[in-house]
């Protein structure tokens, strides 16, 4: 029990640091750690991961705003579009979760991410 709490604190620190620094990241590492190390069932890991990501992202966004990285004159239509799509997508995704083959999904987005990441490094 004590060991699990220490691991949970370390996992939280790592996920928070990564998300704060890059704006990406928490969940991809949180889900396997929740399942593998903290013995959370797979179907509960997704919900628990999102419950952790929510405050991480909120504090991260506020931190960036404090440092002036959400300028008042930015394209708010862009943010609105992303948010709108995101909200519809997440409800659909959570509903469809059981019917979609997660393996293929990870393969496709994993391969996609590798190429996109390399492009961001060299471009």
């Amino acid at each position: 029990m004590r060991r699990q709490i220490i691991i949970a604190i370390l996992v939280g620190a790592a996920a928070g640091m990564l998300a704060g620094l890059t704006g990406v990241g928490g969940g991809v590492f949180l889900v396997p750690l929740l399942v593998g190390v903290l013995a959370v069932a797979q179907h509960q890991a997704h919900g628990t991961s999102l419950a952790v990501i929510f405050p991480i992202a909120l504090v991260g966004a506020i931190t960036y705003a404090i440092h002036g990285h959400i300028p008042g004159d930015m394209d708010w239509v862009l943010i609105l579009g992303l948010a709108l799509g995101g909200l519809v997508g997440v409800v659909l995704g959570a509903t469809l979760m059981r019917r979609v083959p997660a393996k293929q999904l990870r393969w496709i987005f994993g391969a996609f991410s590798v190429f996109v990441g390399i492009y961001m490094i060299i471009a």
Binding site: G23, G27, Q42, G47, V59, M74, G89, F112, S113
Partner: protein, 126 residues
């Protein structure tokens, strides 16, 4: 607007199905498809959109009894402190270096997703 909605939709779907935030879609989408220049702003917007996605996703999963609140509460305190630390560190870094770091993280995430896809299947079959 159409492109933004499409990117958001893809990020949200991935978030809902895999339990991740969706930044891995949002950030490259903004950088490569929408041509947003300032790396720090891209990350700030990513986090703001993820906040909304994660909140709604969390509620959807919670209704189905799929949030282990106690485990989440163990993780959250250190997580939010280090999110602030990470965000402050990012503010000190040069934008082009930061973009390369993010690219590297996305590559690692991609490799992890590919290998986890395989291992996840193994676990189901065993």
């Amino acid at each position: 607007m159409g492109i933004a909605i499409g990117i958001g939709l893809a990020a949200g779907l991935l978030a809902g199905m895999l339990g991740i935030g969706g930044g891995v879609i949002l950030i490259p989408g903004m950088v490569l498809l929408m041509g947003v220049e300032q790396q720090h702003t891209v990350q700030a917007v990513s986090l703001a959109v993820i906040t909304l996605i994660a909140l709604v996703g969390m509620i959807a999963h919670y209704r189905q009894g799929n949030v282990r609140l106690r485990v989440a509460l163990w993780i959250i305190p250190a997580a939010v402190i280090f999110s602030f630390v990470g965000g402050t560190l990012a503010d000190m870094l040069d934008a082009s270096l930061l973009r390369q770091i993010v690219g590297g993280v996305i590559v690692i995430i991609g490799l992890l997703m590919v290998t986890r896809g395989w291992r996840g299947r193994q676990r189901l079959e065993s």
